[in-house]
Symmetry: C2
Subunit: 230 residues, 2 copies
């Protein structure tokens, strides 16, 4: 029950002595809103960490609050409730993967190259606390409304992968395959990283991704086998 730094972090924005109290109220309002948002995200981050460490159901809101040196009702003040908290963690994870798509999609020449970059970013995201939540949060723990939003977001990522696969088949950089099942296989392999990756691993996420990509691109069969002359 170690009390980490409190949310009320005066030290971060010290009231500079020389400054007149309220030059423009707009600036103050913006700063206050930003502060509020920072506290909110601090709670969400703490939750993600705790969920990953102990699992969603073994983490109480008291735990989450204590992790940032605050009491439970504040969680309700900043985030709605426990489900909402999990949902926010989930969304943050999804956002990271979306970012991977964004940066990769405008970059490569062939679709396969773009896919490879997406997968690298994907792996990076999965190894974080939010990635863990994204992958292992159970829709079962969310009520109908949130659950369907989660499914929607997951589906968008899935569709993004399929689109890249189809584009690759189109431009000839990817062998003909079932895009749906292939996307499932690829995403599954990556998502599963969240099950075994524990902080101090021998390989960095990028290295893991590289090996996975090697498998996905070239397969297991040796070159000699490709021409099928046995």
């Amino acid at each position: 029950m170690l009390k980490t730094r409190s949310l009320t972090a005066k030290s971060v924005t010290p009231p500079r002595r020389g400054r007149p109290p309220s030059l423009s109220p707009w600036r103050d309002v913006a700063a206050r809103d930003a502060e509020r948002e920072r506290k909110r995200t601090a709670l969400i981050r703490a939750a993600a960490q705790a969920f990953r460490a102990n699992g969603f159901h073994n983490t109480s809101l008291d735990d989450v609050a204590a992790a940032v040196g605050v009491t439970k009702p504040l969680v309700y003040h900043y985030v709605g409730n426990k489900q909402q908290l999990l949902f926010e963690c989930f969304c943050t994870g999804v956002e990271q993967i979306r970012a991977a798509f964004k940066t990769a999609e405008h970059s490569g020449t062939t679709a396969r190259e773009r896919l490879v970059r997406v997968l690298a970013g994907y792996a990076e995201a999965i190894t974080g606390d939010f990635g863990w939540c994204m992958v292992r949060a159970e829709d079962l723990d969310l009520d109908a409304a949130l659950s369907s939003r989660v499914k929607q977001l997951k589906s968008e990522i899935d569709q993004g992968l399929r689109r890249l696969l189809r584009a690759g088949i189109e431009d000839g950089s990817i062998r003909g395959c079932d895009p749906k099942m292939t996307a499932f296989a690829v995403a599954g392999a990556l998502n599963w990283i969240a099950h075994w990756h524990r902080g101090r691993e021998a390989l960095t996420p990028a290295e893991i991704a590289a090996r996975f990509i090697d498998l996905f691109e070239l397969g297991l069969a040796p070159r000699a086998d490709r021409s099928r002359r046995r």
Copy 2:
């Protein structure tokens, strides 16, 4: 709260009228033990189903008991406690995968062929209720003793895959690769099936496995690309 058939299934072993009550007590004892085992496994199966349907934490032991038309204390009579129940589900799942290894390991000619058969059986197992438990049961929900046994069993499966990969590299049926990461990728893709496979799917487990195996064997890059050096 529909009361399914009770555990006390007299109808299954009707007391035949003509039979003398106890020809050999050994037979009766064996039959009683078998009955007991049947009830025990019925509970475990019901638990696996419920866990898959609602998640471990959203399933009460009352639910499990009610599912077989019985009351909670009986669960404690036949199985130890909730953790134990989950653990048993887990073990049953592991057993199915072990069986896949057993039947495949004596069959194929090359290691790659054996691996492919293991993967097919693996996929079959994963789509069941026990497979779900095996894949999604959190060690976090088990105390130290059970958790480490679970890790042990998981590790054995992992080692089995790596051994096959190494054997394949040895006998030339598998391209040189990092066995550890490759096993993680392959197992991850398959395990992930438990996250999206919901009873009535377009493809049978065997078909899913076939597509996954296609990807793992040949990769995404088209043949034309294989000879090209980058």
